[in-house]
């Protein structure tokens, strides 16, 4: 059994709407191991986003326990949480959330703003990351001059800036067309295989979810089902449909032409 990066026990979250209490999470037990690529699926209202917010330390749980990279973050005050968010977590949003008045490289530098890295180091790291997500040459472009897919890739580079223990992606393909969806999920898969980045992705798109190695189904604030995805097979450079040999950069299987 490999070591876990993220573990929750009986995690609950209750929203108080006036006097009514609305439970969003009602006891989530979850374990994500180092180097895993996990998808969380579920219908709307099932608590996916709430779960991801709690996992990402954007929200505090009402009850239960959560350990992230060996740190019990359940009871950490906001004053310390920002360090966890900065150093341990990379966040990817459905709407990319790039700052419109900063160019690509400045957006990537943003999470490193308050770290000990020098300006030169930050710039260098940001350029490396943009190259890694396939955006070399577009470093100086502002978000409005980039396509949706490119913007999301900038956001992925930004999430990786401080070399986080885990990357949390909230519907990262939700605002993209089919071509770009697969492009992004392939990029995440490649990062997972090449860099060993641990990724948890929330999606309601089963096609996209199937390209991860483990799919968790969330229903009414609880994990009800678990399923294996294609990613494990892809890790062995095999096509999950026909078993033929593939390259990580291939968009389609060379033998059966199915989308990877």
């Amino acid at each position: 059994m490999s070591e876990f990066i993220l573990k929750t026990e009986k995690l609950t979250k209750v929203y108080a709407m006036g006097k009514r209490k609305i439970p969003a999470l009602s006891g989530v037990d979850l374990q994500v191991n180092k180097g895993e690529f996990v998808a969380i699926m579920g219908p709307s209202g099932s608590g996916k986003t709430t779960l991801l917010n709690v996992l990402g330390c954007l929200d505090t749980p009402t009850g239960g326990m959560m350990i992230l990279n060996g740190i019990d973050v359940t009871k950490l005050p906001e004053k310390k949480l920002y360090r966890i968010r900065r150093d341990e977590i990379g966040f990817i949003f459905q709407t990319f959330n790039l700052l419109p008045y900063l160019n690509a490289v400045e957006n990537v530098e943003l999470p490193m703003e308050c770290t000990k890295k020098s300006k030169g180091e930050r710039r260098k790291r940001a350029r490396e990351l943009l190259e890694k997500v396939g955006l070399s040459g577009r470093e100086e472009h502002r978000p409005q001059r980039l396509s949706a897919g490119e913007q999301q890739r900038v956001a992925i580079a930004r999430a990786l800036a401080n070399d986080p223990a885990i990357v949390l992606a909230d519907e990262p393909t939700g605002n993209l067309d089919t071509e770009n969806k697969y492009e992004i999920v392939r990029l995440l898969g490649r990062l997972n295989i090449d860099q060993g980045t641990t990724i948890v992705m929330v999606t309601h798109d089963s096609q996209i979810a199937s390209h991860t190695e483990r799919i968790l189904f969330l229903n009414d604030g609880k994990i009800t089902k678990e399923k294996q995805g294609f990613h494990l097979v892809k890790k062995k450079l095999m096509c999950p449909y026909c078993g033929g040999k593939i390259q990580l950069s291939d968009a389609r299987c060379p033998s059966c032409r199915k989308r990877l």
């Binding site: 954007l58 920002y82 360090r83 959330n97």
Partner: protein, 445 residues
């Protein structure tokens, strides 16, 4: 839009101090004028302790012939009318009084040419017709010329009058402009032709002295048609102890002569001093009043500036809630977020300062005169005492006293204030931004 509004508020903020400084300077100038005038007069009076002035027209007593930068003591109404003359032989009679050293006769008469002048007073405008200039005939006896101050000393061209001069005259600078003559030219006075031998600077003197032609006494008697007559005797006593006695004798013997001695002049200077001091007090109280109004206005401007920054930043924070959520989600601390927004507030405020200085450097005089009560340095009787104020460009009037200008120090101050107010105004919005919970912010569209 916002920047311009901020700019206006800033402009007001810097124009008002500029206006105050200008007003203070005006008051200071006034005080300085006052002090120098007073000490001049005191000096002059001390020099002439043995002088008894015997003048035919009561209003013209004080120093009317002394040209040494001395304003005439009393407001000079009734120009030209009521000019009374006395036979010059009276001078010889006075000379025989015990203790009299010298008697210097003068003939002072207004010209027949007149000029119209509009004076504004609190009760409306009056058009006054006054003589264009004054003819002063001086006895050019060299012992008089050498010993007593009878002629102007501040010559700008030509020479002064001297013993034996005839058909020549000395003219004030402003009259040469009127006549269009220079030294050496001929000029007609009441039909008689004279050569201008000298020009003296009249800007430092009271209005009457400012337009005077000086000439030989007998020439003056001829052109004014007052042959054998004079209008004033300056009687010099052998010693101060004789002055009162001589004055009594003259007053008893010649009812048409009004006699002024050293003591009378001291008294009149004391009256003047009182007058000046009232004026100064007025100016100072107006200044104090101005300052209190200015303080209120500056407070309003400061409040307006910080409120503008406050609302703009509150709006900004609302608009950018999602961005704030993102910043926090990717690991920026509350402090980072807060300082970011404070910085923006300061930046907006600084831009406002730049616009404000631009507006202020053009509009400071207008703005400060719009916003501050006008200083009226002369109480209710503005205009009346102007000529007496030792300054011949006709006095310091309220309207021209304060002209606000921006100096670099004030601009620096404006930038400082902008930074401070920017920080102050954005403090609350920035704090709100910092407190935003990231999860809630992300839900916000």
């Amino acid at each position: 839009m916002v920047i311009i509004a901020l700019g206006f508020s800033m402009a007001i903020m810097i124009s008002i101090p500029a206006g105050i400084v200008a007003n203070q300077e005006a008051t200071q100038t006034l005080t300085e004028n006052y002090n120098s005038t007073m000490s001049n007069m005191q000096e002059e009076i001390n020099k002439t302790s043995t002088l008894i002035e015997c003048s035919t027209s009561s209003g013209r007593g004080m120093f009317s012939g002394t040209p040494s930068g001395m304003p005439s003591g009393m407001p000079n109404f009734g120009f030209g009318q009521g000019e009374v003359f006395i036979n010059e032989t009276v001078g010889d009679e006075i000379r025989s009084i015990d203790g009299v050293k010298d008697v210097v006769p003068f003939l002072v008469k207004s010209s027949e040419e007149t000029t119209s002048e509009t004076m504004s007073t609190p009760r409306g405008n009056f058009t006054i017709s006054r003589p264009l200039y004054t003819i002063t005939g001086v006895c050019l006896n060299s012992s008089f010329v050498d010993n007593y101050s009878m002629l102007p000393t501040n010559m700008t061209g030509g020479r002064n009058l001297r013993e034996g001069d005839s058909s020549v005259l000395l003219m004030s600078l402003n009259l040469t402009h009127y006549f269009g003559v220079v030294v050496g030219d001929k000029v007609k006075i009441n039909g008689e032709s004279f050569t201008v031998v000298g020009v003296y600077d009249s800007t430092d003197q009271g209005r009457t002295e400012a337009r005077t032609v000086y000439m030989n006494l007998s020439d003056a008697q001829t052109v004014t048609g007052q042959i054998g007559n004079v209008s004033r005797f300056d009687v010099y006593a052998e010693d101060v102890s004789y002055v009162d006695g001589i004055a009594d004798v003259i007053e008893a013997a010649y009812s048409e002569l009004s006699v002024t001695t050293y003591e009378d002049r001291l008294e009149s200077i004391a009256n003047m001093q009182e007058m000046y001091e009232t004026t100064l007090e007025n100016a100072e109280s107006t200044l104090a009043q101005t300052q209190s109004v200015a303080t209120q206005e500056i407070i309003v401007a400061i409040a307006a500036t910080s409120l503008i920054v406050l609302f703009v930043m509150l709006y900004t924070v609302r608009e950018r809630t999602k961005e704030i959520g993102t910043l926090k989600a990717i690991g920026l601390s509350s402090w980072n977020v807060m300082s970011q927004f404070m910085l923006e507030g300061i930046l907006i405020s600084l831009m406002g300062a730049v616009v404000g200085i631009a507006i202020g450097s053009i509009g400071a005089p207008i703005l400060s005169s719009l916003l501050l009560p006008q200083i009226n340095l002369f109480g209710g009787s503005s205009g009346r005492f102007q000529p007496t104020f030792g300054s011949a460009n006709p006095g310091i009037t309220g309207s021209q006293a304060a002209s606000a200008t921006l100096d670099p120090q004030l601009m620096l101050l404006a930038f400082g204030a902008a930074m401070l107010l920017g920080a102050l105004g954005s403090l609350y919005p920035a704090w709100r931004a910092a407190r935003i919970r990231p999860a809630e912010a992300m839900r916000y569209e």
